[in-house]
Subunit: 388 residues, 2 copies
DNA sequence: AATCAATACTTGACGAAGGAAATTATTACG
DNA sequence: CGTAATAATTTCCTTCGTCAAGTATTGATT
């Protein structure tokens, strides 16, 4: 069984939190290097690490051989004990639940999904219970070492209270999802906006590790952006943040459902791509898959639709780079199944509009499967264990 | 004389820093309300405040009368002793030095300026010495209670080291301005980018007080933006941040000197306004003042130039609101001498493009004289006293 | 082999920061 | 005048983290 502090918090002191977080995100580190990195004395690190080792969350690796003249005692790096605890993450979409189990290193250990026929709260919770049972009671035997569940939902979510204020795809209003999901699963639940969850996961366990500021752009039906500035996730004072999709980049562009004009999303979102592809091809029943296939087959006019979309995304990303100057930017999302058609043009738009040294900001453009979104949800629940 | 800790730092503990900062920025506050606000015990506030009172930085105001049923002991609010110490701030432009003396409440007590004939480093430093002497030795007798000087320079400035990496208007490269200015004036010097200094001043002493996130947009030859997110100034990883002027808002707009297209600055910056006004009027020697006068007199075509510029600025501000969601936004700058011509159109552009609840973000549009920029520099030096 | 220099880590004493609870101060209300 | 309510202070205590000294372990040098 898992019993540490009773309150659910793993670490008691700021120093212990800092030590655990650093080992978690920046891999094995010796106590002395942790002390230097965190501005602590090595004695403080020793003391902070001891209970974490005793509880089995950290382990001491074999001493590494040292090099250089007059080498001293070899360091014994601290690493996380990946199997000490497991975490469940579930991404809730309008028609499917995607779930994963990850270990303390955020490596995916199991995954499963369930179709949703009814996006109502009760039906979703029932399916969620089954999904979690499937994940925890299947091969692997994760149940005894699992206490926490992270949920990722699109829309306006209050992570502090676990309340889903509004989710457009699910048509949910003010659903106390944390309590409801805790009842069904018996786990400690964290609820977060899906883009923020994915951003958190990339910041702690992915390409954003070590970056003081970081941005993650998702391309799909909507175009969103998660932002980390000064080491912290940006939340937005009026409930709005990261709405890169509604930056206006073309004063003569199409009108957007939001009331703006020339929004990135109105040019490059999946519905916009399909609409334009239908117009240019003259086929009113064309789907996104058709458009991708045609463009890949060399249809120049449909290729131009993707080119225009990619450039618009690039302009939006340049706006992010010019405004907040993240150390790096990851571009992803299910819309990037067609990323081969977008990538070059995203870079073109970005490079044209990025100001000065902002062009040097590294851009990773790669598709992330939905499973990664579920992993993001689980990563948030790791975070809630470490820094509640 | 002024002698507190020798290192120049005023407060020794985080709690004392928090207490002093809160009183400084949020006006007189009782110990109990400070404790609640800062998450401290009232005992801690009492202890933290005592040395600050003894050193004369804080004072206890007369007890306020209380209301309500069974009112208890009246609170004795803590307030800053404005005259305890004075600070000099100087804004360095290409052709002028503008200087002010402010007190601890950031109220301007004296101001002066000096024309610059030579923007070279040595000449500027000589003039700076004279300006500071004028300010401190003139009426008011500020010299004995003044130890710190803040400098505001446009361009790429490293506040931590006081190095001016590059300033385009002055044509300075890697000038160790902090050391040089300290030699000339004998004061402890802080150097900051001008927009960031103004943003800091508004965040601590102006409309941004109490806001977790805040943006200040400056309109003039260039169009810039200072950003506070999660309570901290945004610096940008590649030396770029707040470049709202180079967000592309019009894919078919004019090319910008930065290489981009349809940049806000290329539409609404003073040179762009003048260029467009010359084109529409057919007068190749038209100045900005002429354009303003014509527009105010009812020239519709030149009025349209301002309208287009204002809308472009509004679109850029909407991008800021959509991305980082500041609690409020101040729009200012010397370019806003013509703010009556811009204001309505800035709001139009903003309201059209702001997403969802972001339109609720309060927008203050008002001109700030150059003296306010110097005040910003001085405010940064207050900040360096409180939180070095 | 013995010693030394260099580096990593641990230990125990100490100081300082902040909290808890009791105490004092000051008001309004009956 | 007690009593309730709120503000501030005092005393005592816990605790976190540093400091300085000591232990551990290596390569290089004698």
């Amino acid at each position: 069984m898992l019993t540490e502090t009773g309150t659910g918090a793993l670490t008691e002191t700021p120093a212990a939190t800092a030590v655990f977080t650093a080992v978690l995100t920046e891999g094995p580190l010796s106590r002395v290097s942790l002390a230097r990195r965190l501005g602590l004395s090595s004695a403080a690190v020793t003391k902070a690490a001891r209970p974490l080792i005793e509880m089995g969350y950290l382990q001491e690796l074999a001493a590494t051989e040292r090099t250089g003249p007059g080498a001293g005692r070899p360091a014994s790096p601290l690493a996380v004990q990946a199997d000490r605890e497991y975490f469940v993450g579930v991404k809730i979409t309008g028609d499917e639940l995607i779930g994963v189990v990850i270990d303390l290193c955020a490596d995916v250990r199991a995954s499963a999904h369930r179709p949703l026929t009814d996006p109502g709260v009760d039906a979703v919770l029932t399916e969620l219970g089954h999904l979690v049972d499937d994940l925890l009671d299947g091969p692997g035997g994760y149940r005894p070492r699992t206490r926490r569940l992270g949920l990722a939902v699109s829309g306006d979510v209050d992570r502090a209270t676990g309340l889903v204020r509004y989710s457009p795809f699910l048509q949910w209003h003010n659903v106390p999802l944390r309590e409801r999901a805790a009842e069904v699963t018996g786990l400690t639940v964290t609820v977060e906006n899906d883009v923020k969850a994915l951003t958190t996961a990339e910041h702690w366990f992915g390409e954003g590790v070590g970056a003081e500021s970081f941005a993650l752009v998702t391309v799909g039906t909507g175009i969103g952006c998660g932002l980390v500035v000064n080491g912290r996730l940006v939340s937005g004072s009026h409930g709005v943040a990261g709405e890169i999709g509604h930056i206006g980049v073309d004063a003569t562009g199409p009108e957007c459902h939001c009331g703006g004009r020339g929004c990135v999303e109105a040019i490059a979102g999946t519905p916009a791509i399909v609409r334009q592809a239908r117009q240019t091809s003259g086929r009113p029943d064309l789907t996104m898959d058709d458009a991708v296939a045609l463009a890949r087959a060399g249809d120049e006019r449909i290729g131009a639709v993707f080119a225009r979309g990619g450039e618009a995304i690039g302009l939006g990303i340049a706006a992010v780079a010019n405004l907040v100057g993240p150390a790096r930017i990851v571009v992803s999302g299910e819309g990037l199944a067609a990323y081969d058609l977008f990538e070059r043009h995203i870079r073109t738009g970005f490079e044209r509009q990025a100001f000065g040294a902002a062009v040097e900001c590294p851009l990773s453009i790669r598709p992330l499967p939905f499973e990664q979104w579920a992993r993001g949800a689980a990563a948030v629940s790791i975070q809630s264990l470490v820094a509640p």
